[in-house]
């Protein structure tokens, strides 16, 4: 009986925790750091420049550049994806989704 009561209390606590977590809402300040944001911005901007605006790679390197220019990116023209990163961490990929939908950040 004692165990059952304990279990009930534990279950109630877990439920409260779960509800608490469930109601966690987005708001500023947000969690992503600058490097991660810059990788995402670069991947999406370069992808749209190449496949939606249809500029060549040199033009898109200038277009997508951020100050300070810490992000690097590569394009896979067969897969129609752009991978960007800032250093070794914080990679991001944008993928071309077709002639109406352009690029989407994965």
């Amino acid at each position: 009986m004692k165990t059952a009561k304990f279990s009930l209390a534990a279950a109630a606590l877990l439920l409260a925790l779960a509800l608490g977590c469930g109601s966690s809402r987005p708001g500023y300040p947000y969690s992503w750091n600058d490097l991660r944001l810059i990788s995402s911005y670069t991947a999406k901007t370069a992808c749209s420049c190449l496949f939606v605006m249809e500029f060549d790679e040199a033009a898109c390197r200038a277009y997508a550049k951020q100050e300070p220019p810490i992000a690097t990116w590569t394009v896979d023209r067969n897969a129609k994806t752009v991978d960007a990163s800032t250093g070794l961490m914080w990679g991001a990929r944008a993928r071309y989704m077709g002639p109406k939908f352009g690029c989407t950040l994965e």
Binding site: R25, P26, G27, Y28, P29, Y30, S31, W32, N33, D34, R36, L37, S40, Y41, K44, S48, V52, M53, E54, F55, A59, A62, Y63, Q66, E67, M97, P99, K100, F101, G102, C103, T104, L105, E106
Partner: protein
């Protein structure tokens, strides 16, 4: 006889069938697949005016890498339903798409108008009718509140080179909210009751696009912006990007040509009609281009350059916020779509004109909008 006619008229006025007539106003004409090109005559007759416009808009400062000053990519001027001037630069041409940034918002607002005209949505409806995943405490937000940037959602519209972690718009487009942008926006807490305050927000219009999807996608399918609006006004090759969940990024990620953007302006100039087809409810354009109520009550953050209409900037002062006339040299009825880096679509009904400019002004203070449109009017106005 006279009294019989009078009662007949009364009867007609009463009858539900006589509810707002869906007529379209007289127009100077609409383009088919291409705009009718009347630029040769203007080029011959307005050489001085064209030089003044081009000296201002197409003179680059410094090298491309420096990204300084006015960096115009395209200017297109429509008068009387015809293309009277266009010029491109920096690799752009009539067919190459350009990012619209916040000009996208005026398209999204217009798509809501299309849904209303089709009877698929009412402005007073809760957003939860169309976006069921919104948390229940945000169901008090109505469609009209999003149109007027008045949801009350606690949001910070801050762009690059500022405090990135504080920026709700960067978090939505590129950060923790990017895979489900509509859900990210709807999930925020509110700081005000809906309809009581104004806060410019790319998030709010992206949520508005999800509302439009809820209304239009069931009948039109996943590519609903095309049959709803892009195809009827003859846009040639727009691209509307989506997040990983398939929400159109209605606040920022439309790509289109200057000629296609001029078509939205021309729809608005013609009271929401395209040829004889009424795409937007009668009165929609008027309601979209007057000062909305929430902005008079309380305005946050951006004291200057607020969107006073429903997803349209208008040339009307807001004395309640100590805002003067935005463009003193332009006709009072001028209204505009505007976007980051210098995207503009100005509609001037009294001159039967639309002026489009797309650019890559990384310095947002470089261009004097009032001066540019004034110069464009001198080039394109009716002789």
């Amino acid at each position: 006889m006279r009294s019989l006619l009078a009662s007949l008229a009364l009867l007609l006025a009463w009858s539900p069938a006589s509810a707002p007539a869906q007529t379209c106003p007289a127009s100077s004409g609409f383009p088919g697949a291409a705009w009718t090109d009347a630029s040769a005559a203007i080029a011959a007759a307005r050489t001085a005016e064209i030089k003044a416009l081009e000296d201002y808009m197409f003179t680059l400062t410094g090298t491309d890498a420096e990204r300084k000053g006015i960096r115009t990519d395209s200017v297109v001027i429509i008068q009387g339903g015809k293309l009277v001037y266009e010029r491109y630069a920096r690799g752009f041409n009539p067919d190459r798409r350009h990012i619209a940034w916040s000009v996208t918002k005026s398209y999204t607002g217009t798509l809501i108008g299309v849904a209303a005209q089709r009877g698929l949505l009412k402005l007073e409806d809760s957003i939860c009718k169309y976006v069921p995943e919104a948390p229940s405490d945000n169901c008090s937000i109505r469609v009209v509140d999003l149109l007027e940037f008045a949801s009350g959602i606690d949001w910070k519209e801050i762009y690059e080179n500022q405090s990135n972690q504080e920026s709700s718009v960067l978090a939505m487009l590129y950060g923790q909210g990017h895979t489900d942008m509509a859900g990210f926006v709807a999930g925020h807490h509110r700081r005000d009751e809906p309809g009581t305050s104004y806060q410019y927000s790319t998030g709010e219009t992206t949520l508005l696009a999800a509302v439009a999807a809820g209304a239009l996608e069931p009948t039109l399918g996943a590519e609903w912006p095309w049959p709803a609006l892009f195809d009827p006004i003859g846009m040639q090759n727009p691209v509307f990007e989506r997040d990983a969940r398939g929400h159109y990024v209605g606040g920022a990620f439309l790509y289109l040509t200057a000629r296609d953007l001029a078509r939205l302006g021309w729809l608005m100039r013609n009271d929401g009609c395209w040829s004889d087809q009424r795409l937007l409810p009668q009165g929609w354009v008027a309601d979209s281009t007057k000062v909305s109520e929430p902005i008079k009550k309380k305005t946050l953050e951006r004291a200057d350059g607020d969107v006073q209409g429903r997803q349209w900037w208008i040339n009307t002062p807001v004395p309640e916020q100590n805002q003067g006339v935005p463009w003193p040299d332009l006709p009072a009825d001028t209204f505009m779509a505007q976007g980051h880096w210098g995207q503009f679509c100005a509609v001037i009904p009294s001159l039967d004109m639309v002026v489009v400019r797309m650019g890559d002004d990384r310095d947002s203070t470089a261009l004097d909008l009032n001066k540019f449109v004034k110069l464009a009017i001198e080039v394109g106005k009716k002789p």
